[in-house]
Symmetry: C2
Subunit: 194 residues, 2 copies
């Protein structure tokens, strides 16, 4: 018997890129064929359907996203510092030429009307990320404040993931983040201001 000849992980990675960029509906299986180098039959044998491939891509993206947050917060001198670093990365990310917001958010907005499994999954994962932040904040603040600040933080993160599409938005985003999240230990006040 022959083993799988292709690197499943690489196929999933390239599918993440495609689906993340264009969304579910605007990504065709023919683009998948082109981007992965696999033939239709191989894809369908391995993933069953377009939905199957999308599911695996979305799950992998969510897994990596949470892993990334945990790593950052675990390695930071304080939770606040870690969150500042994460927010700063998000703002920096908006400068990339092919900025793509967040795969989970895009999936939720695109597929909300159909209320399908992907919408539910994305919602659950985003809720999981809020819970992740809350649990970290709970190490430094009381339960009530942790909950409130996690909510406020999520509002800002969602905001950044949309605001990033605006032209020359990085400076305004940073200002807005400082305004709305004054309890975070921002590296330094922007010089010569108020």
């Amino acid at each position: 018997m022959a083993k799988a000849q292709f690197d499943r992980n690489q196929v999933v990675e390239r599918s993440i890129k495609l689906f993340w960029q264009n969304g579910f509906n605007a990504s065709s299986m023919q683009q998948v064929v082109k981007n992965t180098g696999l033939q239709p039959g191989s894809i369908y044998l391995a993933f069953g359907s377009k939905e199957g491939l999308f599911r695996e891509a979305l799950e992998e993206y969510a897994r990596k996203s949470k892993e990334c947050i945990r790593k950052r917060l675990d390695s930071a001198p304080s939770i606040g510092d870690g969150i500042c670093a994460l927010l700063d990365e998000m703002v920096e990310d908006s400068l990339r030429r092919n900025y793509c917001s967040c795969f989970l958010i895009k999936t939720q907005l695109e597929l909300a009307a159909q209320r399908n499994e992907f919408y539910d999954f994305a919602a659950a994962q985003l809720a999981g990320i809020e819970e992740l932040y809350r649990s970290y904040l709970a190490r430094e603040f009381d339960a009530d404040l942790s909950r409130k600040r996690a909510s406020s933080l999520m509002l800002h993160i969602f905001g950044v993931k949309v605001y990033s599409y605006q032209r020359d938005s990085t400076a305004r985003m940073r200002e807005g983040l400082h305004e709305g999240l004054p309890w975070l230990p921002w590296p330094q006040q922007q010089p010569g201001n108020v």
Copy 2:
């Protein structure tokens, strides 16, 4: 010569509903035919293409959105009160069974990868809305603070438009908004809390 027999405005309104709900790609012209009652030929004579109809729908949505903001802020006792009322409406809106976020934001996220005219239009309109808030805030705050608070407000609005898809999110959103926008004259502190 015969005049147009159908109500163009009604067709645009129904197209807004369809496109807003499902997005550009997931809305088919056959659904438009079904929802408007018009035949394909009539639609193409009046709007030229799917893009043409979408353009008119998006433009009308943007026009009404800005009008709605102006009305609210003009009729409020203060800018802050008006903004609170608008935010409260957005939070309330998330309880509707067919909540659809914001047509401009959804369009931007869906069509960003193609960098087409609709993406540019949506971005410009959202920038216009931020400018609208800034100009109103400038009546009560100095230029620098108005700019910062308009940015912070937009981050929160974008945040609400995404966060609203989360289950039972209204209470957490309200908390998050109070946390992040403490300079607004919120009607009353939630009772029996901190």
